[in-house]
C-alpha cells in the first residue's frame, strides 16, 4: 500500500516540479513539511458522441489544478474535439433526388428521394485552452478570473471572465457575481452568404466553371464576421441543513453581431410542396437571454439525490425548461453507480419555419434550423465509477439522447403532407473520466 502510494507521488511530483518551475515557487517557508506533489490534481475525460446516421464527435479534456492553499489555485484546461458526419441543412425533404452546392462553393452533394437533406461538409477539429486563477480576497471572499481561447479552421473564440464570491453566516450562505465577455470571429471558406440570397446550384446551366463561380460569388458578401457576448451570472448557495444544500442562479446574456448559421438554408416551396429555391437564412443581429436555475442536493444514507431545474426565456421568443435528476448510489469497495435522467423542452423561435410558402411575404428573419424549433428531448444515462488501489477515481458513463420535434402547423402543402419534414435525433454517448 505504502509502496504504491510512493510511486504515484513520483509521477505527480515530476509534473509538479516542472510546473512549479514555470509558475515560480513561492512556498519556501513550508518546504520542510509538505510534499508539493499533493497540491496537484489532474482530471481527464474522453467522450464519444454518435447520432444515428448523422454526426459523430470525439472530445477529450485534460485539466490540471494546483491548489497552494484553500481557494488559492490555478487551473489549466485543454479540450480537443473532432466532428464528422452530416447534419440537416434546413432544406426541406422532397419526393425526388435533390442536389445542393457545398458552402465553400467547391463541389456539390446529392440527397436521396424522400430523405431530409443533410449537409455532410466536413467540420474539423477544434482546440480549446482555458486558464483560471482563484484566490481569497478580503476576509470572507474569493475572487476568480480567467481566459478562454478556442480555434477551428474557420472559427476563433476568445473570452475573459471574472467573478467574486462572498461568504456569510459562517459560510452557510454564499453570494456570487460573475461577468464574462467573449468575442468570436468567423471566416468561412467560400465567404459569408448574403441572407435571403438563393443558393446557386449547377444543374448544367453554366457554360463553364467560371460562370458558375461568378454566380456563386454574387451570393457571397463579406469574407468574415464576428459577434460579441456579455454574460452576467448572479447566484446564492445556501446550506439548508447537515444533509441539504441548494443553489439559485440568475443569468443574463446579451449577444450581438453575426448570429446566422452560414451553412443553413430555408426552402421556398410552391402550393404543391415542391421546392423552387433555397434561401440562405437570416436571424436577428442581437439576442438577449435570461435564465433562472435552481438546484438541490440531499444526502440520504448511502446515496445522494441531485435535482435541478432551469427556465430560460429570450427575445427570440424561445422559452425552455430543463429538469435534471441524478442519483448517486454508494456501493461497496469505493464504487458507485449514478443513474441520470434529463428532460428538456423548448418553444420555437419567432422566426423559425420548416419552409417558406411561395405566396408568403419574405419575413424579416427566417431560419429552418431545428435547434430553434419546438421540441422536447430526453436523456437517460448510467454512470459507474470506482477508486483504484492507488487512490485515483475512474468512471464510465453511457447515455442515450433523443429529440422529438413538435409539428405546430396543422397541415403542409401538397407532397409535404406525406413526407417526414422534421428530422429525428437519436444519439448515444459514452464517456470515460479519470481523476488522479
Amino acid at each position: 500500500m505504502q509502496l504504491v502510494k510512493q510511486k504515484n507521488k513520483t509521477v505527480a511530483g515530476a509534473i509538479a516540479a516542472a510546473a512549479l518551475s514555470l509558475l515560480g515557487n513561492s512556498a519556501k517557508a513550508d518546504g520542510e513539511f509538505w510534499d508539493f506533489s499533493r497540491d496537484w490534481k489532474f482530471n481527464s475525460g474522453i467522450l464519444y458522441y454518435g447520432e444515428q446516421d448523422r454526426v459523430s464527435a470525439l472530445e477529450g479534456v485534460f485539466s490540471a489544478t494546483h491548489e497552494k492553499d484553500l481557494d488559492d489555485k490555478f487551473n489549466f484546461k485543454i479540450v480537443i474535439d473532432s466532428l464528422t458526419g452530416a447534419s440537416p441543412s434546413g432544406a426541406v425533404v422532397q419526393p425526388g433526388v435533390q442536389t445542393f452546392t457545398r458552402p465553400s462553393g467547391k463541389g456539390q452533394y446529392t440527397v436521396n428521394a424522400e430523405e431530409i437533406p443533410l449537409d455532410d461538409t466536413f467540420r474539423d477539429t477544434r482546440v480549446q485552452v482555458n486558464s483560471q486563477w482563484t484566490s481569497p480576497i478580503w476576509d470572507e471572499s474569493i475572487v476568480s478570473y480567467g481566459v478562454h481561447l478556442s480555434k477551428e479552421y474557420d472559427y476563433l473564440s476568445t473570452a475573459v471572465n471574472g467573478n467574486i464570491a462572498w461568504n456569510f453566516n459562517q459560510k452557510n450562505t454564499t453570494f456570487s457575481l460573475g461577468l464574462s465577455l467573449a468575442k468570436d470571429s468567423f471566416d468561412p471558406e467560400g465567404g459569408v452568404p448574403i441572407p435571403f440570397s438563393s443558393m446557386v446550384i449547377d444543374m448544367g446551366q453554366f457554360a463553364n466553371p467560371t460562370e458558375f463561380e461568378t454566380a456563386f460569388d454574387l451570393t457571397r458578401g463579406t469574407t468574415s464576421e464576428d459577434k460579441e457576448t456579455l454574460d452576467i451570472l448572479m447566484g446564492i448557495t445556501q446550506i439548508i441543513n447537515r444533509k441539504t444544500v441548494m443553489q439559485f442562479n440568475y443569468s443574463y446574456s446579451d449577444v450581438s453581431g453575426y448570429l446566422n448559421d452560414p451553412f443553413k438554408v430555408v426552402s421556398r416551396v410552391d402550393q404543391d410542396g415542391i421546392a423552387l429555391e433555397h434561401l440562405y437564412e437570416s436571424r436577428p443581429d442581437k439576442r438577449v437571454k435570461q435564465s433562472f436555475y435552481w438546484q438541490a442536493k440531499h444526502y440520504l444514507t448511502g446515496s445522494v439525490a441531485d435535482i435541478s431545474y432551469r427556465y430560460m426565456t429570450d427575445d427570440w421568443e424561445i422559452d425552455s425548461h430543463t429538469i435534471d435528476y441524478k442519483h448517486y448510489l454508494t456501493l461497496d469497495n469505493n464504487q458507485y453507480l449514478e443513474p441520470q435522467i434529463r428532460w428538456y423542452q423548448q418553444s420555437a423561435a419567432e422566426f423559425y419555419q420548416p419552409y417558406l410558402l411561395e405566396q408568403s411575404i419574405i419575413p424579416e428573419n427566417i431560419s429552418a434550423d431545428t435547434r430553434l424549433g419546438e421540441f422536447s428531448a430526453l436523456t437517460i444515462g448510467l454512470k459507474y465509477g470506482w477508486r483504484t488501489d492507488s487512490g485515483n477515481d475512474m468512471a464510465i458513463r453511457l447515455s442515450y439522447y433523443e429529440q422529438s420535434m413538435k409539428d405546430s402547423l396543422s397541415s403542409h402543402p401538397g407532397v409535404l403532407n406525406d413526407l417526414q419534414i422534421y428530422p429525428d435525433l437519436k444519439a448515444f454517448f459514452i464517456q470515460y473520466t479519470y481523476d488522479f
Binding site: 513550508d30 513539511f33 492553499d69 484553500l70 459560510k171
Partner: protein, 169 residues
C-alpha cells in the same frame, strides 16, 4: 456512585481553578462528557506548559497541510514546553483513523464525535486553533490554515513559550 462523582467534580474544579479559558464556561452538561473529560485530563497534565489546541476533521482539506506542520512544531518546541492537542470532530471515528493513517500525527488526538468541545469553544470555522499560555488563558486563535501565515502562527506560539508562568499564591 454519588461520592465518586463529587470527588471527580472536585478534581475538575481544581483543574478549572488553575486554567482560565476565556471562551470556556462551565455548564451542567460539562461533567458528563467523556470527550470533555479527556480534554480536562490533558489540560491538567500539561499545567504550566503552552498548549496548542487544534480542531480538525478528516473531511477538512487544509488539515492535511496542518498536520505535517504540527508534527514539525512538536519536534522543534516540545523541549521548550509546547504541548499539542488535536481535537477530532468526525462523526465517524473510522474516517478520522483513516486520515491519520495517511497523515501521521506525533501529537495527541482527542475524539469529540458529538462536537461538545467544539460547542464549548464556540468554533467559528474549520479548522480552528487556540494557543493557551502557561496560565491557561487563550492568547491567540486562528480560523483556517494558510501556508502563507505559518510564520505568524509560529510567532504567537514562541511568544507564549517565552513567557514565564505566573506564580500561584
Amino acid at each position: 456512585m454519588f461520592v465518586k462523582n463529587i470527588q471527580l467534580l472536585k478534581a475538575i474544579t481544581f483543574a478549572l481553578g488553575v486554567i482560565m479559558i476565556t471562551n470556556f464556561y462551565a455548564s451542567a452538561a460539562f461533567a458528563n462528557s467523556s470527550a470533555k473529560q479527556k480534554l480536562q485530563k490533558r489540560l491538567s497534565d500539561y499545567q504550566g506548559q503552552v498548549i496548542y489546541i487544534d480542531f480538525w476533521a478528516s473531511w477538512c482539506k487544509p488539515c492535511r497541510k496542518s498536520f505535517p506542520w504540527m508534527n514539525s512544531l512538536k519536534t522543534r518546541f516540545y523541549d521548550q514546553g509546547l504541548r499539542i492537542l488535536a481535537v477530532n470532530l468526525d462523526k465517524d471515528q473510522v474516517l478520522a483513523k483513516e486520515f491519520i493513517k495517511n497523515n501521521p500525527a506525533l501529537f495527541d488526538i482527542i475524539f469529540d464525535t458529538q462536537g461538545e468541545i467544539a460547542s464549548e469553544f464556540k468554533l467559528e470555522g474549520m479548522p480552528m486553533s487556540f494557543v493557551l499560555d502557561r496560565n491557561g488563558s487563550v492568547v491567540a486563535s486562528h480560523v483556517g490554515f494558510n501556508s502563507k501565515k505559518i510564520t505568524d502562527y509560529e510567532a504567537e506560539i514562541v511568544e507564549a513559550l517565552n513567557q514565564r508562568e505566573l506564580a500561584n499564591d
